[in-house]
């Protein structure tokens, strides 16, 4: 990468090299990001709070530490942003909701504490669908984020701001959360990388819960390498998160740069191709991606999975039941303080019986066994669709009934396996398309290896959305 290249196009690794060589300061990098936020966020509505003073203080501290030879790791001096469901001590954390509009946590989420300990630079808090579920909603204290590829289109959600800021080049890495596809959906619609790690690999403590047994924390990033480096900062055991896995943290970038020789991948084409809503260009894009992965040395074989609707029903019932349990008191006493879509989605949880929920958890064990002891006993990973259509327009959503999303992400919240969203190109209307790469539990290095090899070969992510800038930044 040339010295004159725009600073927001520097990968996390390249920015780190320059920061350590003294050819770039964290303050300069941070000011560049803040200038782009000031210029573009009025179009995108992706930030609910820009922490300018905190960012510049973080950056100044990082510069002094690095100059003194103190090295806190890959993101030391590098900017990041957080979905506004991550608690930040002393900084407002709203969940994009009227109910928490004045909420200022006393403690950081574990992920935020890890970024701080790693010397990273917090740019601000990002738009989300209300409590990570509703949306897109126009009846909230903040407007919904807009898709940088076309401002009239949806970003996906619930990590809506995270997808928008990474795609628009405001920051290289932004934290999201994923309960049914809330990292991978915005990554797909906005054309970024997004990693839903294995359940239990990243602590959820201090992140406002949506569904205890389905919530995952992970990053949306511009490249696969950025995702690997972010994961190195945030992953790890947390004894106070009941779901946290007490296992060694892998070297997430260990497989990057390798070809795919010797890997065997499952391609469940009928899992998405027989869905009613899927578009021909989504199927064609997936077929081309599968062929490209085969050309890189992997053996790709078509397989059959259990019906998508089984995974989806299992996940939806659990998600809505758990979300209702979390919000029950406020739903009953403050219904009009929730956005229309959020309230309508959550109240369905009041109709789910104990037997329904138990049956969902019984099915979940069976589905997890199919993926983990059948498919992934034979194959190193699965490649499949992420969404069935490109991002819809905002004005396509009905006013009175929450829209149905055409994502294929819920199966891997149900099973807990790591799932990487990666762009595969563009639809005829200029909006991004993408796929998921799903791996064995705690085998993120292989998932990232496959993603990085495909990314390098396809080059599909190198294009940025053509947003109008009032000033050159």
């Amino acid at each position: 990468m040339s010295a004159s290249q725009a600073l927001h196009e520097l990968s996390i690794a390249e920015a780190g090299r320059r920061l350590r060589a003294g050819t770039l300061s964290s303050v300069t990098l941070t000011q560049h990001c803040l200038s782009r936020i000031a210029a573009l966020d009025p179009l995108l509505h992706a930030f609910v709070l820009v922490t300018r003073e905190r960012a510049l203080a973080d950056a100044d501290r990082a510069d002094r530490e690095l100059k003194a030879g103190v090295d806190k790791g890959a993101m030391h001096g590098v900017p990041y942003a957080l979905k506004d469901i991550y608690a930040t001590a002393g900084i407002r954390t709203t969940c994009h909701s009227k109910l928490l509009i004045d909420n200022v946590p006393a403690e950081d989420a574990v992920v935020e504490a890890k970024f701080k300990a790693g010397g990273a630079v917090l740019l601000g808090k990002l738009a989300t669908h209300e409590f990570a579920l509703g949306g897109p909603s126009f009846d909230l204290p903040f407007p919904p984020a807009r898709n940088p590829w076309n401002l009239e289109h949806f970003t996906g959600g619930s990590s809506s701001g995270s997808g928008a800021v990474v795609a628009a080049g405001l920051v290289r890495t932004a934290m999201g959360s994923d309960t049914g596809g809330s990292i991978r959906g915005p990554a797909f619609y906005c054309g970024t990388v997004g990693l839903k790690p294995t359940y239990g690999l990243v602590s959820r403590r201090g992140v406002f819960p949506l569904s205890y047994t389905l919530d995952h924390c992970g990053p949306l990033t511009w490249t696969v390498e950025d995702a690997a480096l972010t994961m190195q900062v945030i992953a790890g055991y947390d004894a106070l998160d009941p779901a946290s896995a007490d296992i060694p943290v892998p070297q997430f970038a260990s497989g990057l740069g390798q070809d795919l020789a010797g890997l065997k991948l499952a391609y469940p084409r009928s899992f998405f191709a027989r869905q009613e809503d899927v578009t021909a260009e989504v199927v064609a894009s997936l077929d081309a991606a599968a062929q490209q992965i085969a050309n890189l040395g992997a053996k790709v074989e078509e397989v059959e999975l259990a019906d998508f609707e089984l995974f989806n029903a299992c996940g939806r019932v659990i998600l809505i039941a758990e979300a209702y349990a979390i919000h029950e008191k406020n739903l009953l006493t403050r219904p009009l303080d929730y956005a229309r879509y959020t309230y309508q989605r959550m109240m369905v949880g009041a109709t789910i019986s104990a037997a329904d929920l138990t049956q969902a958890f019984r099915l979940r064990r069976e589905l997890a066994a199919i993926i983990n002891t059948h498919i992934l006993a034979t194959y190193d990973a699965i490649i499949t669709a992420n969404g069935l259509t490109p991002a819809p327009r905002f004005d396509e959503f009905p006013a009175d009934v929450p829209p149905k999303m055409t994502l294929q992400t819920m199966p891997f919240n149900v099973t807990g396996n790591p799932a990487l969203a990666i762009p595969t190109g563009f639809a005829k209307n200029g909006l991004p398309l993408g796929m998921q790469i799903v791996g064995r539990a705690f085998d993120e290095p292989t998932v990232l290896r496959i993603g990085a090899a495909y990314e390098a070969a396809s080059g599909s992510i190198k294009k940025r959305p053509a947003l109008e800038l009032p000033i050159a930044v």
Partner: protein
């Protein structure tokens, strides 16, 4: 779905909301009823053939409490 089936569904829904203690704002009801209809379809799918011994995924375990005990 016929008008009669819709009416039955709505009566079920009203009973469930009453049991939950919810007073649903009238202008928000249609969206929840649509969601209820969809979740009924889904809960039917959950009832697959399985033995009585088939355990759920979230069985209770004491190891989590033991490991998270504060020093």
């Amino acid at each position: 779905m016929s008008t009669e089936e819709d009416a039955v569904l709505e009566r079920e829904f009203d009973a469930l909301m009453a049991k939950a203690g919810a007073k649903v704002p009238a202008d928000r009801k249609a969206g929840i009823v649509a969601g209820y209809k969809d979740i009924k379809r889904m809960t039917a799918l959950l009832r697959q053939p399985r033995t009585e011994a088939a355990e759920p995924s979230n069985i209770y375990s004491l190891t989590g409490f033991r490991r998270s005990r504060q020093p």
